[in-house]
């Protein structure tokens, strides 16, 4: 039988420009590629020679959906490099900003990007004709995630207010308290979101085990920050050694570098966090996870969608706790913390962005000028694992029509919630031999 190529030229309803290519010889699978052909912007090169104060402003532009993650992880890496400590309130407000981003990004993905595949619509607008109430509910949650980013970060995208040393202006007490009551009021909607996603995630699409990795802050809490890297193989690494985990390399079919851990692909994102940390979930999110535990299937990538739905609920509950903590500690207006005499140094930081672990590191000289920079994004880490899962899904759906097969492959790719603009900038700064 002749060779056949199944191609999704442009994968729509994801962030960025990419495609899927599967080569078949009859029913034999020859090759699978995630093709990433987004243009390169060379962020790691552009930032060199600039003052560290420019780092958050420029590096957050890598990506819009996860701009808060890029901005805050860049800030934390710079603060480590220049030896700057920030206040407890600043840390709590940063966590609140990340929770806002997680809510916005997850609900955008679940309702607008992923759900239409399962209900048979080309997009959220068409879906709204038949499922108006669900779409409005999802957009309502998304808007609240954006309100957090607007109030804490000063803008929904590319949050101007978060800077090295803290916040330009601490959000007003009244705004935080209003946010708290809006969050409380919408918790029922987050529970309904979970059951909506549960109902559309019944199939086992790829049945393929993965290695998972996520950050760990050493506490018993479900958090998106941490200075240790956990791997499901049982290994742990300090954040400074993130390059040993990621081992990036260049492949010819992509403008994004790929990552392998001990020569195996691995996955980051909501499913990885759930796999490694679900026992730490508390409150309603913990209760829901316990209910779902018997069905939990980490070999099914659709559980990344379910993991995001659980994290939306968790983020609502945690955001309320964070606001309560700020008030209990005695809310105060603070100015940006300033560093002492610069001596030059390096810093690496990681954060759990909505779609997985994001790493930034910088070296800053004694004049405050950036001399080296490195960024590794979750989508870049996931590309190799995504290809593995697309291969597995092709085996399962190989007898289906070409149209159905393509849809299944798109569902797998979309379940990763890829952020292709980000993935192009991932790159190891070490020159290859």
């Amino acid at each position: 039988m002749a060779n056949k190529t199944i191609k999704v030229d442009h994968l729509y309803r994801v962030e960025g420009h990419g495609g899927i290519r599967v080569e078949l010889d009859g029913k034999k699978l020859l090759d699978v590629k995630m093709e990433i052909f987004e243009g390169s912007r060379f962020f790691e090169a552009l930032i060199r020679g600039r003052h560290y104060k420019d780092v958050p402003m420029i590096m957050c532009r890598i990506c819009a959906i996860c701009s808060a993650s890029h901005r805050l992880v860049a800030i934390r890496a710079v603060e480590k490099a220049i030896g700057l400590e920030v206040s407890k309130q600043t840390k709590l407000l940063r966590e609140l900003l990340i929770l806002g981003e997680t809510i916005e990004s997850h609900t955008l993905h679940l309702f607008c990007l992923a759900a239409p595949d399962f209900l048979g619509f080309p997009g959220v607008a068409a879906m709204a004709d038949r499922h108006g109430a669900v779409v409005r509910m999802g957009l309502g949650l998304k808007k609240l995630g954006n309100s957090i980013q607007e109030i804490v970060g000063g803008r929904k995208i590319h949050q101007v207010n978060a800077e090295v040393g803290g916040f330009g202006k601490v959000p007003e007490k009244a705004e935080l308290l209003a946010l708290r009551s809006d969050l409380e009021a919408k918790i029922p909607d987050t529970l309904e979101t979970l059951s909506f996603i549960e109902n559309i995630s019944k199939e086992n699409i790829n049945a393929s085990p993965s290695i998972f990795s996520a950050l760990d802050d050493g506490s018993d809490n479900y958090r998106y920050q941490g200075d240790n890297i956990l791997v499901s193989t049982g290994d742990t690494l300090p954040i400074e050694k993130y390059k040993e985990l990621c081992n990036e390399f260049v492949v010819s079919h992509s403008h994004a570098k790929h990552s392998l851990y001990k020569e195996k692909p691995f996955m980051v994102g909501a499913l990885a966090r759930l796999y490694l940390h679900r026992h730490k979930l508390s409150g309603k999110a913990g209760k829901e996870m316990k209910r779902l535990e018997p069905a939990f299937d980490p070999d099914n990538i659709l559980w990344n969608n379910l993991g995001q739905a659980i994290e939306v609920l968790q983020s609502f509950e945690r955001a309320i706790e964070v606001i309560d903590q700020i008030m209990a500690d005695g809310y105060k207006e603070e100015e940006l913390a300033r560093p002492g005499k610069l001596t030059g140094g390096s810093g690496a930081a990681g954060t759990e962005a909505p779609r997985g672990t994001l790493y930034h590191s910088y070296t800053v000289d004694d004049k405050g000028i950036v001399t080296d920079a490195d960024v590794i994004t979750p989508t870049a880490i996931n590309l190799e694992n995504m290809e593995k899962d697309i291969r597995a899904a092709t085996h399962i759906a190989i007898d289906e029509s070409e149209e159905k097969l393509k849809l299944q492959l798109e569902k797998v790719a979309r379940a990763y919630d890829p952020c292709i603009s980000c993935s192009v900038h991932i790159v190891d700064i070490r020159k290859s031999k």
């Binding site: 729509y12 309803r13 994801v14 962030e15 420009h17 052909f37 243009g39 390169s40 912007r41 060379f42 962020f43 790691e44 090169a45 552009l46 060199r48 003052h51 420019d54 402003m57 420029i58 532009r61 890598i62 990506c63 819009a64 959906i65 701009s67 955008l108 607008c112 080309p122 997009g123 959220v124 607008a125 068409a126 709204a128 409005r136 957009l139 309502g140 998304k142 954006n146 000063g154 803008r155 929904k156 995208i157 590319h158 101007v160 207010n161 800077e163 916040f167 330009g168 202006k169 260049v250 010819s252 403008h255 570098k257 603009s421 900038h425 790159v427 700064i429 020159k431 290859s432 031999k433």
Partner: protein, 255 residues
């Protein structure tokens, strides 16, 4: 009367301007009711290659093939509207647009990345006629909605031709530049963001790009008086609008 046909397109960028359109949570379903969205890669999969009344294009040209894509959009669109700093001025991707692409490529990808194509980043108007632009990094939802509303009534939207300073005055913000010595580009930057940065006690970083007839020389002198080094001033002004002629010409000899 049939509904206007709209396309939303993306070249190389962070896709924040498309995302800002999806951030119109309260208005999204009304917009969809008032226009026919023929192409919107981030939001739908049934995108068609047909003639359009209006094309919104975000992003910077960084690939040869994007020039062809852009020309294709121009050919099929009645109006072509650049959205955001990348489409209008090149944006952050163009910060180092005068540097050799091969050198930048090698820093990021090493020798193994030599196959990766890249052309000097440039804004849309270097390649096709742009009917007008929405500014900002990203664009502001309020300006997008205003533009759509006015276009639906057959008008071209009018946007502020005054600087960020006017917005600060209106909000009764104390001037961060004069009173607090914070380097601020508000005096030469187009308004439209409601003075977001100065309202947070931070200097404007000019993501909306230069205002027409900006007095760049005066801004330069004030920043110098405030102790900002010359090369630092040049770097500040070239983050979001590196190809803007009004700024470019003044710094040609200083770089």
């Amino acid at each position: 009367m049939s509904k206007p046909k709209i396309g939303i397109f993306s070249l190389t960028c962070c896709e924040g301007c498309q995302l800002e359109i999806l951030n119109c949570e309260d208005e999204l379903l009304d917009i969809v009711g008032a226009v026919d969205i023929i192409s919107f890669g981030m939001a739908q999969s049934n995108n068609l290659d047909i003639d359009l009344d209006i094309a919104f294009v975000e992003g910077t040209v960084t690939l040869e093939k994007e020039i062809e894509i852009l020309k294709g959009i121009r050919k099929k669109a009645g109006l072509l509207i650049a959205i955001g700093a990348c489409a209008t001025y090149g944006g952050v991707a163009a910060i180092d647009y005068e540097r050799d692409r091969e050198e930048l490529k090698e820093i990021v990808y090493g020798k193994a990345g030599a196959f990766i194509p890249s052309v000097t980043p440039s804004p849309l108007h270097k390649h096709v006629k742009v009917d007008f632009a929405l500014h900002g990094c990203p664009i502001e939802k309020s300006q997008f909605l205003k533009a759509v509303g006015q276009l639906l009534h057959g008008d071209l939207p009018l946007f502020p031709d005054y600087p960020v300073c006017s917005e600060c005055k209106r909000k009764e913000n104390e001037c961060v530049l004069i009173h607090h010595n914070v380097p601020c580009l508000g005096p030469i930057t187009s308004a439209g963001c409601d003075a977001r940065c100065p309202t947070h006690y931070l200097g404007c970083d000019s993501c909306f790009g230069p205002i027409d007839e900006a007095n760049v020389a005066m801004e330069y002198n004030i920043l110098k008086e405030k102790g900002v080094a010359e090369d630092e001033i040049a770097r500040m002004m070239q983050v979001f609008s590196p190809t803007a002629e009004i700024i470019e010409n003044q710094f040609k000899d200083k770089k």
